[in-house]
């Protein structure tokens, strides 16, 4: 394991400040969507597991 997290950055860019802000906004939006998708997936698997365990009498 590296002692420092790798950094990812865009260099040699001649984007304007507005373009940089737009790029960040879009990336943030994508990250939130991914978070929601992964969270939803975990939740649905968890709920299915609870239902299946309950149906099979392996829970209270």
């Amino acid at each position: 394991m590296p002692d420092k997290m790798p950094t990812v950055e865009i260099v040699e860019s001649n984007w304007t400040a507005e373009e940089r802000a737009e790029f960040s906004r879009r990336r943030r939006g994508r990250n939130y969507l991914l978070l929601a998708a992964l969270g939803g997936f975990c939740l649905i698997i968890y709920a299915i597991a609870l239902v299946k365990l309950h149906e099979n009498g392996q829970m209270w």
Partner: protein
């Protein structure tokens, strides 16, 4: 707009190769393989672009018909499992749509109606869209198998495969009957919903499958009558492009006349009640009237509309409402 060079620090060579690829695309250089007509990737995709890959408009109909299959099934299901089954059907249909957009990115770029989609517009890379579709397809089938049963999961996998391999990759570009046979892909959701609840398939879901199967040609041909220029430019052999508009108008009428008796079959066979039977008759009569107007639209010698295809546009809009109302009537009939 000038595009940046991307330099990754602290990551491996494969990540840098990916960045170099994006860089080449952004600078307008041709991609190593595949489609070469996409715009630069620019500022990247928005979250909405990724959701657009799932074809959300089509999904509403898929969710609805899938849910009807679950409602009609004579088995009580746990609400969590019901929700999971509907979600799996939705995600699978969306995944098939994403793979379809990946495969059709060359013709999408040519057609006005689809040129702004995320891949031809250059906001999402083609490999990214393919990976997105494949991952969602696999996950949806696996979760369906875990949550419900293997019959439903197998049907779900078949429906994805049918849409991607049979319709998108084979039929769509090779025959004017593409919609007729390919329509089967869109007819799966109620069967999958029923199978998720019961673990088997019986007469009613097969009839629901047949209804969507025979509904698809008049629905799509009505659209293709006023979008045939797009299809012609892209070289897609839709019926109006290959056989002409007059032939297409007749085909819409013929398939409507086949579809209406099929919609009455569940009532005639005693699988639904009187409410559905009356609804199917009234809605079907109206569909026939819309098709009749398409057939007798004012036309020139080639069959091209002189009314800017107003009857075809009305028929297309009604066909969507028709399916919602017909399946809704079926559900109401069962629940009340």
């Amino acid at each position: 707009m000038n595009t940046p060079a991307i330099k990754l620090r602290g990551l491996g060579p494969s990540a840098q190769r990916a960045a170099d690829y994006i860089d080449r695309r952004a600078s307008g250089a041709t991609a190593p393989t595949g489609f070469q007509g996409a715009a630069p990737l620019g500022l990247g995709a928005t979250a909405t672009d990724w959701l657009t890959l799932l074809k959300p408009r089509v999904l509403t109909l898929v969710v609805f018909t899938g849910a009807i299959g679950l409602i009609l099934a004579p088995v009580h299901m746990n609400p969590v499992i019901t929700l999971a089954a509907i979600l799996c059907i939705t995600v699978a249909a969306g995944a098939a749509g994403a793979i379809n957009m990946w495969y059709d990115r060359d013709i999408d770029a040519i057609m006005r109606r689809t040129a702004t989609r995320p891949i031809p517009a250059g906001r999402i890379s083609a490999p990214g869209a393919l990976a997105f579709g494949v991952i969602l397809a696999i996950l949806s089938v696996l979760v369906m198998a875990i949550a419900t049963n293997y019959t439903a999961a197998t049907l779900l996998a078949i429906s994805i495969g049918f849409y991607v391999f049979i319709y998108t990759m084979w039929l769509k570009r090779s025959t004017p009957q593409n919609i007729v046979i390919g329509g089967a892909a869109g007819a799966f959701p109620p069967v999958i919903g029923w199978a998720a609840a019961t673990g088997s398939v019986s007469a009613l879901p097969i009839l629901l499958f047949a209804i969507i199967f025979f509904w698809t040609p008049p629905h799509f041909w009505a659209l293709s009558l006023y979008a045939s220029g797009d299809y012609e430019r892209a070289g897609v052999p839709m019926l109006p492009v290959v056989k002409g508009q007059r032939h297409t108008r007749v085909a819409i009428m013929v398939y409507t006349l086949i579809m209406v008796p099929v919609t009455l079959a569940p009532f005639v066979l005693g699988l639904t009640g009187r409410f559905y039977g009356v609804s199917a008759l009234l809605l079907g009569s109206l569909f026939t009237a819309y098709s009749w107007r398409v057939l007798h639209d004012a036309q020139d010698a080639t069959g091209a509309s002189l009314t800017k295809n107003a009857p075809a546009k009305a028929c297309f809009k009604y066909s969507i409402l028709y399916l919602f109302l017909l399946f809704g009537a079926c559900a109401v009939d069962r629940l009340v």
